[in-house]
């Protein structure tokens, strides 16, 4: 992956600047790990002893890996809005919902009134709209991106807190629309709380991916996540990305330097939403259905926590943050809890302490490592601008 270097003056000689080589190493390493995981789960897993399989089912089930990638894709989108452009978005779940419902609409028998098939692996006789997975990815991304612009529009003249409130409202409204969208003037938009299921199987090179082809799905989800990484890094290095960073650091100064605030902010929302749309559609194919109940406020918060914990603005940090938190939520806490309870014969309900743990981690991070696990070099420099050399010792 060729990465162009962000043009900036080298003010600090002490801090090592992120070079293209570093990004390339990350990309290569992650790709190797992903291919190894794919090969393991596709070809080796069934042949390993039962105890090994059981261990993986407890600590790292393949479905958790796939789910984590959904979070990664969405977190990368949010990173563009929050991490790059510095616009606090508390309603990102709305874009996830749009992407999910796009898959629900165009990859299932939901619209049973019509019978449209294009590139799908499902039988032609089944009514509904059945489009190819790849086409649906594009449609989902475009729908979400379009709504990203719509949400962006009223926020143009808003700053900080007010902006966050508008996004919060948006994030509350959209899931409500889907929850109550069973009868909009006689039209069933979302099937209400019943949700849409099942979703068509993914077809790739003429192969239909059934519910147990998790390794292949992992590879596809990884590919989509990699595309988002590529897009993030390329845009960041370019004119638009530099404009976002300028707005993030000082909106007034940026506009005085000729950065068109309106257009730049709108694009941040649109690109972020684009990624959210892809994440949503991937999510729908992962769980094989889409249900309105899932899209609550806590999703937006968890995504935000992933970006903040991982390191705002640094795609690698965000990926690490998303993988870590998704794993804790889906597998880590219940598995640790079960192990603990079995060892000490207790009955503690560990997963119910999820938010306590997240809250605690966030507080600790803010105290000792407020730039995130893998801070963006540039943000780190800014946040320590005023630290003098003697006090700059704690936790960095």
């Amino acid at each position: 992956m060729a990465i162009s270097l962000l043009k900036r003056s080298k003010t600090s000689g002490k801090k090592k600047q992120k070079s293209p080589a570093s990004a390339r190493q990350w990309a290569i390493s992650l790709t190797i790990v992903a291919i190894a995981i794919w090969a393991f789960f596709t070809y080796l897993f069934d042949k390993t002893p039962d105890a090994v399989q059981a261990w993986f089912q407890v600590w790292l089930p393949p479905s958790t890996l796939n789910e984590s990638l959904v979070w990664v894709i969405c977190a990368l989108g949010l990173n563009i809005v929050v991490g790059y452009a510095g616009l606090l978005d508390l309603g990102f779940v709305a874009f996830w919902a749009f992407g999910g419902y796009a898959a629900g609409w165009f990859m299932s028998g939901f619209f049973h009134q019509v019978n449209i098939h294009f590139g799908s692996m499902s039988a032609n006789t089944i009514p509904g709209i059945h489009l190819s997975f790849w086409l649906v990815m594009v449609i989902a991304a475009l729908i979400a991106g379009f709504f990203g612009i719509i949400i962006g529009a009223p926020t143009l003249r808003l700053k900080s807190d007010y902006l966050a409130l508008v996004t919060l409202g948006f994030g509350e409204i959209i899931p409500q629309v889907f929850t109550n969208g069973e009868n909009i003037g006689g039209f069933n938009l979302s099937n209400g709380t019943k949700g849409i299921s099942p979703i068509d199987a993914i077809g790739v090179f003429g192969k239909r991916l059934g519910p147990f082809d998790l390794g292949w799905k992992f590879l596809i989800y990884f590919f989509l996540a990699a595309c988002m990484v590529f897009v993030s890094l390329r845009i960041r290095g370019g004119r638009l990305g530099r404009a976002w960073l300028a707005i993030r650091e000082d909106e007034l100064a940026a506009s005085m330097m000729g950065v068109p605030l309106m257009r730049t902010k709108l694009t941040a929302y649109a690109v972020g939403a684009f990624s959210g749309g892809i994440g949503g559609a991937v999510y729908a194919t992962h769980v094989n259905g889409i249900f309105a109940e899932r899209f609550n406020f806590s999703i937006s918060i968890i995504l935000l926590a992933m970006v903040v914990l991982g390191g705002m603005g640094n795609v690698w940090g965000v990926i690490v943050g998303a993988l870590l938190m998704a794993w804790i939520n889906a597998t880590g806490l219940p598995a640790v809890g079960d192990t603990f309870n079995n060892t000490f014969h207790t009955q503690i309900n560990f997963p119910s302490y999820n938010f306590l743990l997240f809250g605690g981690i966030l507080v600790l991070m803010m105290l000792f490592k407020r730039d995130g696990l893998l801070p963006e070099a540039r943000l780190k420099m800014i946040s320590h601008e005023n630290d003098d050399d003697t006090s700059n010792t704690g936790g960095h």
Binding site: S29, G195, N288, N329, L333, P351
Partner: protein, 424 residues
């Protein structure tokens, strides 16, 4: 190489070492006798925790009482949680992950669950496509009709891609509950009803069934639409809604929905505008049962409720020496309190179906499923059934053949059983 690449190679090496270690220890485990695993898949976080935790405890107790045997097989029990703390209730992604885990756990032959119909819609198709299956799932609490019978377009076939059924349930469906409520209303002399729903799947389902049956048996339905009027759970006040209803002068208001959707305010405002529940009767489905908060409200006194099955009270009253009563007593003895709500007994009933299927089978997933859906199917005689009456599963749909509904009334700050109602 760089630090990062070194890190990757260290992780890879550690992984290999761990694999080798675990591989070394398994030979001893293989020597043990083969035990079939049955599991439960229930939400164990959030508001549904108490009831489902009680279900798991009841199942454990029951398995212990029969010495963990089913025919010639030994069984063991494994609990799955389909909720996450982040969602605070069942989580679609967790359901999808559990579905994979059920199939991946080689010793597992059948699943008891789920609690939520939405979760069942995700898990059933995966179990259905299990290459060694299909794998049987028996639910204690899914009341959504579409899982087993034609309801929405494409249902229920979309959940069975293999063309073979693998899902059964021991509770009745929403449509039966709504019908029973309408028939009961007629029997107490109601002629004009107004129907409300909470705009959710479940609430609309029962409201629709109530409306359809009420019209069929000659009641006047004052509300318009197939599911009645929706109430918005986020509103702080329903005075306007009930003032509008008062002008139509109904004998009864039927609320299809769950108490959690601001049911408390709804009940208060109903009484404030329409008077207490002896004047204009008030009735709700099992979404309003099992809430001590509701039972203690002065406005709720006299409210009728229905439950999709026989309530634990009724089971005990019907047959104080039967299997059900004995079981409830032993539960109280073991855990110091009664099971929460009426679903725990249904959970045990579902396990009874699974155990009977295992006993009749060759011990494979496919065999266990076939035992339920082919030949004479599975029935539990009244003597053994914890539900106090014969439990028979249809080999075609997987539904229980019993259409029992319990009518309850809130009296003296408690839910009291009025009578059993068999849907006509």
């Amino acid at each position: 190489m760089t630090k990062l690449n070194r890190f990757v190679s260290v992780v890879a090496a550690a992984g290999l070492a761990a694999t080798a270690l675990v591989a070394g220890t398994i030979t001893s485990a293989d020597a043990a006798t083969k035990t079939l695993v049955i599991s439960s898949d229930l939400p164990l976080q959030g508001s549904a925790f108490d009831s489902n935790d009680s279900t798991n405890k009841a199942i454990e107790l029951y398995l212990k009482s029969i010495n963990y045997t089913a025919g010639k097989y030994k069984v063991s029990f494994k609990k799955y949680d389909d909720a996450t703390a982040a969602a605070g209730s069942w989580d679609a992604a967790k359901c999808a992950a559990n579905a994979q885990a059920h199939v991946a756990n080689k010793a597992e032959v059948a699943v008891m669950g789920t609690y939520n119909s939405g979760c069942a819609k995700i898990i059933v198709p995966v179990l259905n496509q299990d290459p060694k299956g299909p794998m049987l799932m028996v639910s204690d609490a899914n009341t959504n009709p579409g899982l087993t019978k034609a309801w929405n377009p494409g249902e229920p076939d979309v959940y069975y891609p293999n063309g073979v059924r693998n899902y059964a349930r021991v509770c009745t469906t929403d449509d039966n509950q709504g019908s029973a409520a309408a028939q009961f209303a007629k029997s107490i002399g109601i002629s004009k009803v107004y129907v409300l729903n909470d705009t959710q799947t479940y609430g609309q389902g029962v409201a629709q069934a109530f409306t359809t049956e009420a019209k069929k048996i000659g009641l006047t339905v004052l509300s318009s639409g197939a599911t009645g009027e929706g109430w918005d759970a986020k509103q702080s006040d329903y005075t306007a809604l009930f003032t509008k209803i008062k002008a139509l002068n109904p004998d009864m208001v039927y609320v299809g929905g769950i108490f959690d959707n601001n049911g408390g305010q709804l009940v208060k405002d109903k009484v404030a505008v329409l008077g207490d529940n002896t004047k204009v009767k008030f009735m709700g489905p099992d979404g309003f049962t099992g809430y001590p908060d509701l039972n203690k409200m002065p406005e709720a006194q006299g409210m009728y409720l229905s439950f999709a099955g026989l309530s634990t009270d009724l089971l005990l009253a019907n047959d104080p020496k039967g299997a059900g009563a004995t079981f409830v007593k032993s539960y109280k003895k073991a855990y110091g309190k009664d099971p929460v709500g009426s679903y725990p007994l249904y959970g045990v009933a579902a396990v009874q179906i699974i155990l009977a299927a295992i006993a009749k089978s060759d011990g494979t997933r496919k065999g266990v499923n076939n035992a339920v859906f082919s030949g004479s199917g599975i029935s539990i005689p009244a003597k053994q059934s914890v539900l106090g009456k014969e439990l028979k599963i249809s080999t075609l749909s997987g539904d229980t053949l019993a259409k029992d509904i319990t009518i309850e009334v809130i009296k003296n700050n408690d839910e009291t059983t009025l009578k059993a109602w068999t849907v006509k």
